[in-house]
């Protein structure tokens, strides 16, 4: 027998430093010596800065900033880097070197952050620093490529130091992943939200006061229980909570019914079903609202029909929580469906077969085995629909009428006639309280139950058919809902071809031509339609954001489920928080946080991408966690004992088994980037305008025809791209029988 090639190690007491240390130092050198330190006006990737590089004060790298332009404060982080380089060569003992690197990495990050906050455009950021240290002759712009790379280098130095000290079995990949994710969450979730919450205690001039906070917190417009005890309305907090509970219940029930319909029945149109249930998520939320108005509004088709046929007085019932609820269930059922279908498919057929051989009939099998195994999925679907409903902005905006919910109230508190940042912050705190409570409830309910159903053994067999009663119920629930959905979409697509709803119902292509017109000029194709600019921007940003979101989401899910690190619970919590914060708050807080140094991103495409990644990642994480906890841990361990490091294990074992979850995350991230409106409306700029913001602008101008034509075109494009994603990622390759035990007409099982 020979020694396996990969297993040679140095047996000496002090092995040579791993090569990754040099990579981290090189990255640091790149940051200080080559990349322009500060933010480039007009964009880094324009590369126009190369003209003045490297001596120009706007584009000079860190070292030249210190030497030529007197920005001596950058010397502090540079010295931390130099010390790390010294430790790399001088300290032979891994433990001592690791300790030095941990400290230097943390120190470098701290110095980098502190100098960024203390020194702004005009010198010291606070006047009292002038008195303390004397006036600075010059300030600095926001951080740019060099500064960000330096931050990354310090994070690596910190992580590799921990790895040298044997933390997490010395797994540098896992430690760096955690460090980077934690840093990103801190920058893109905690920092803006903190900025926002500080707003609750700030007066208009920025000074500290608690007056606004206490006044708003005790407001009866938030907490009134008037609807229970008297005729008046309930407070906005209770209304939002009630709506979210109803929406989550409705969406989870419908999602489960659809998932069962798609996997456990012999429903003839399963393929079409998947497409149809995806439709509502690829629809900008306010469009569903608009379609409902076209159907049930005072001059809606159905309202008018009922009025002329039976003399039913056209009412305004749609404008309020009922209408919002219908629109939200329409919107979020597909999200629940996407989560639940993976779970329903993941239930091991042999469990159901085992149950059947244990004298359990199909009903008992379903109620006692299949359904409990789906519990984590159901809890996830409920939680996500609940939070989605809480954070939803588009539907309440269109249908809420005077019955606002928390998210719209926050919006109006920020942009309305009476701006009140303090009230906005208070409402945001309440909203967060509700969503975090939902999160806690889910954790407690699921407890530590083990639901591993994809084991390391091959798992043949076929799923049990549904009990007759459940099957009928599933059909009775899903078919009318399908028809309803079809009707709503028919309205959306028909809307684009009608001249003016309510007034002139003649058919026209005018709206489409105005939005998507093209003509041929001297330079080739001219995109003359008004929609093209925002359309291409939207596609570009969504296509960048979706894979990033899925990648970060899956990595996070894997770390949470498979790695045992300090603060894992906190980490998961922080992620959920970013999802629980409604888009309106994110939008406002991003504007407040990223409008000035040290990080300046407003008006760029980057802020849109980061906003989408951190708003949508938690859904991917939840899906990934649910799918991952169904995969036996011994598969990961087997990979480790087969010489694979954790990165390879993730890539070759975990990810391929997570394909359904990855598809879900990709699809979700992509469509959310295209359809979301609440955060986007604050972050778009003339250069980077998104489709939804543009459509809302059209609606405001009264151009309903063009707006709905643009929306339906978006839906078609998204459907096409999603099919592409689905093909690309493919089905999980387990070769499990994907059949359902056939049932004869009288409901008795028969062999397939």
């Amino acid at each position: 027998m020979t020694l396996a090639p990969a297993s040679g190690f140095a047996a000496s007491a002090n092995p040579p430093p791993p090569r990754r240390l040099d990579a981290a130092l090189l990255l640091g050198l790149l940051a200080f010596l080559i990349l322009p330190w500060h933010r480039i006006e007009g964009g880094f990737f324009g590369f126009r800065w190369l003209a003045g590089f490297p001596s120009d004060p706007d584009t000079a790298p860190g070292l030249l900033q210190i030497l030529l332009h007197g920005r001596i404060w950058l010397l502090a982080p540079l010295l931390a880097l130099a010390a790390a380089a010294w430790a790399r060569f001088a300290l032979k003992d891994p433990d001592a070197r690791g300790r030095a690197w941990v400290r230097l990495g943390a120190l470098g990050l701290a110095l980098l952050t502190i100098q960024g906050f203390l020194i702004g455009f005009m010198g010291w950021s606070w006047l009292w620093l002038d008195g303390l240290f004397g006036e600075l002759s010059q300030g600095q712009p926001a951080m740019g490529a060099g500064a960000v790379t330096a931050g990354a280098a310090f994070l690596l130095i910190f992580s590799f130091g921990l790895a040298d000290r044997g933390v997490l079995r010395g797994d540098a990949f896992v430690i760096s992943s955690i460090a980077f994710l934690a840093a990103l969450v801190a920058i893109f979730v905690f920092y803006p939200v903190t900025r926002m919450l500080v707003g609750a205690f700030q007066d208009f001039d920025g000074s500290f006061t608690t007056a606004g906070f206490t006044r708003n917190m005790a407001s009866s417009s938030i907490w009134s229980l008037g609807c229970v005890i008297g005729e008046t309305r309930c407070g906005v907090a209770w209304r939002t909570l009630w709506l979210a509970l109803m929406t989550a219940t409705g969406a989870t029930t419908l999602g489960l019914c659809f998932a069962l319909l798609a996997t456990r029945t012999r429903f003839p149109f399963k393929k079409g079903l998947r497409l149809l249930t995806i439709l509502p998520i690829i629809t900008p939320p306010f469009v569903v609202g608009l379609a409902l108005v076209l159907l049930f509004g005072r001059s809606g088709v159905i309202t008018q029909g009922l009025s002329s046929l039976f003399g039913v007085e056209p009412g305004r019932w749609l404008y309020g929580l009922t209408g919002v609820w219908i629109a939200q269930v329409l919107s979020f059922t597909p999200v629940a469906f996407l989560i639940l279908i993976g779970v329903v498919e993941g239930v091991s057929p042999s469990m159901e077969e085992a149950s059947q051989t244990l004298r359990a009939d199909r009903w008992r099998t379903f109620a006692q085995v299949s359904l409990p195994l789906m519990k984590p999925g159901l809890a996830n679907a409920f939680l996500i629909s609940f939070i989605e409903s809480m954070a939803d902005f588009g539907n309440p905006l269109v249908l809420g009428g005077s019955h606002g919910v928390l998210s719209t109230e926050i919006f109006f508190a920020v942009v309305g006639a009476s701006t009140d940042p303090s009230r906005a912050a208070v409402l945001a705190i309440i909203l967060l309280g509700f969503t975090l409570t939902a999160f806690m409830a889910q954790r407690l309910w699921l407890g530590k139950k083990n639901f591993a159903t994809v084991s390391g053994k091959g798992d043949p067999g076929q799923h049990a058919a549904l009990p007759e009663g459940v099957r009928r119920l599933v059909y009775a629930v899903t078919i009318p809902w399908l028809l309803f959905t079809v009707t709503v979409y028919a309205m959306i697509f028909a809307g684009g071809f009608v001249k003016t709803w309510g007034l002139d119902h003649s058919l026209t292509f005018g709206h489409y031509l105005r939005a998507f017109g093209v003509s041929w000029g001297d330079q080739g194709i001219l995109w003359t339609g008004v929609a093209w600019n925002s359309f291409w921007t939207t596609m570009k940003i969504a296509l960048i954001a979706a894979p990033l979101t899925a990648a970060v989401g899956m990595l996070t899910a894997w770390l949470i489920v498979r790695q045992n690190f300090v603060g894992r619970g906190l980490f998961e919590f922080a992620l959920m928080m970013s999802f629980a914060i409604p888009g309106t708050v994110i939008g406002v807080s991003y504007v407040m946080a990223f409008n000035m140094p040290p990080l300046e991103m407003t008006g760029s495409a980057l802020i849109l991408v980061m906003c989408f990644v951190f708003r949508n990642m938690p859904v991917g994480v939840r899906g990934g966690v649910a799918a991952m906890s169904q995969i036996d841990k011994s598969l990961d361990e087997a990979s480790l004992t087969l010489r694979a490091d954790s990165a390879r294990t993730l890539r070759r074992v975990a990810l391929p088994l997570l394909r359904p979850a990855i598809t879900a995350a990709l699809v979700y991230a992509f469509v959310r980037a295209i359809t979301s409106i609440s955060a986007v409306i604050f972050l778009v700029s003339a250069q980077y305008n998104m489709a939804t913001a543009y459509i809302v602008g059209l609606v405001e101008n009264g151009e309903y025809g063009v707006a709905i034509a643009y929306s339906s075109a978006l839906i078609v494009v998204m459907a096409a791209i999603i099919s592409g994603f689905q093909l690309l990622v493919g089905e999980r390759r387990l070769r499990r029988e994907n059949r359902v035990a056939a049932t004869s007409a009288d409901g008795k099982g028969a062999a397939a």
């Binding site: 027998m1 396996a4 297993s7 010395g170 091959g458 004992t641 088994l657 387990l734």
Partner: protein
């Protein structure tokens, strides 16, 4: 590298040692200070009831758990701090842990590819590995398309192609039926002896342990209860626990009358015998382990060298008969290979002991 250290290293290649290894999970200490040595090229079984720490010991050797205290050496080298993927061991999991999305060939080639071996060579070696376990030509199948026994062999091949210093097997046969279990364990033993690697084998089945091992380490509550060859453990158990665990045994109280020249004279009821004296045996009260087949039953009246008993139940099992016998020394379980005229329940019998299958236990 010069020749001398190379030789020295090869000397130790495949050896395993635990030095005062402690493993705690929170407040619970699963392994309190375990020390053991495993010689290169041997197959050693860790045997014990569930919860005795055998699997934790194996996982620490694999690098899937890390000791709270102490050192682990493999091939003479300290691997205590090394992660699983940097250790020259590989493992066969109880659940096989075959990657369900890879074919059996891809499964077997996985570790080779992880070790940086080129795709072509990895493929060839994986095919050889599959041939070694008798699955040549099955490489294209997914785990779900293989029977339990075939999956098990793929798992063995996957671990073996890495040519590890030490192969770890965690109850590898527990998911197989009895007939297959016998065949596969013979195959594993045969491959191990042919290739000469060290194997550490965890099981709770003493038959399996007796059949395959060079050495057996019986564990109880995280400690070694006894270590030795199968014969040593079976014939001279150090405690009643070992005696009962290593094949069934009747453990009954007896009296040691005197010890001389490595043998002891003991008395049980009216029966007096000279038996080999284990270390630590003192005159006075002791215990006697009697294998079921060491009990001779005769229907006649008690002679001077036997004591009386009565048959409580009898079960005919083809090649032998099993009896429950009530005696004044307690209830005894006996096996008789004489099946022509079985004794009937209720019958009075004389109980005698054969020379083999009887062992004294101190205390």
């Amino acid at each position: 590298m010069n020749a001398v250290p190379q030789e020295k290293r090869d000397d130790k290649r495949g050896s395993v040692s635990f030095e005062e290894v402690t493993k705690s999970f929170g407040a619970f200490t699963a392994i309190p200070g375990l020390s053991l040595e495993i010689a290169p090229g041997t197959l050693v079984t860790l045997l014990g009831p569930s919860g005795c720490g055998k699997t934790t010991t194996l996982r620490m050797l694999a690098g899937l758990e890390h000791p709270t205290k102490g050192r682990i050496r493999i091939g003479g080298k300290d691997v205590t701090a090394l992660p699983a993927n940097a250790r020259d061991v590989s493992m066969v999991f109880q659940s096989y842990a075959l990657f369900p999305h890879m074919t059996s060939l891809e499964n077997v080639a996985y570790g080779l590819r992880s070790s940086g071996i080129k795709a072509k060579e990895a493929r060839e070696r994986a095919e050889e590995g599959l041939k070694l376990v008798g699955l040549g030509g099955m490489g294209a199948r997914l785990p779900a398309e293989l029977s339990g026994g075939q999956q098990q062999r793929v798992a063995v091949a996957r671990a073996l192609v890495l040519e590890p210093q030490v192969l770890l097997l965690d109850e590898p046969l527990s998911n197989l039926d009895a007939r297959l279990r016998r065949r596969v364990r013979t195959e594993i033993r045969e491959i191990q002896q042919r290739l000469g690697f060290t194997a550490v084998y965890v099981t709770h089945d003493q038959d399996e342990a007796l059949a395959v091992s060079d050495q057996i380490i019986v564990m109880k509550e995280g400690r070694i209860a006894q270590q030795g060859t199968p014969r040593e453990l079976y014939e001279s158990p150090a405690s009643a626990f070992i005696a009962d665990f290593m094949g069934e045994a009747n453990v009954v109280p007896c009296a040691v009358e005197e010890i001389a020249g490595g043998t002891a004279q003991m008395r049980i009821e009216g029966l007096v015998r000279r038996l080999p004296a284990p270390a630590g045996l003192k005159p006075g009260a002791a215990q006697l382990a009697i294998r079921p087949n060491a009990i001779a039953l005769s229907p006649s009246a008690p002679e001077h060298a036997a004591f009386p008993g009565r048959i409580e139940s009898a079960a005919y099992l083809g090649d032998h008969v099993e009896y429950e016998v009530a005696t004044s020394a307690g209830r005894l379980f006996a096996v008789d290979s004489q099946t022509d005229s079985p004794l009937a329940p209720g019958e009075a019998v004389a109980v005698d002991l054969r020379p083999r299958g009887v062992a004294l236990i101190p205390g």
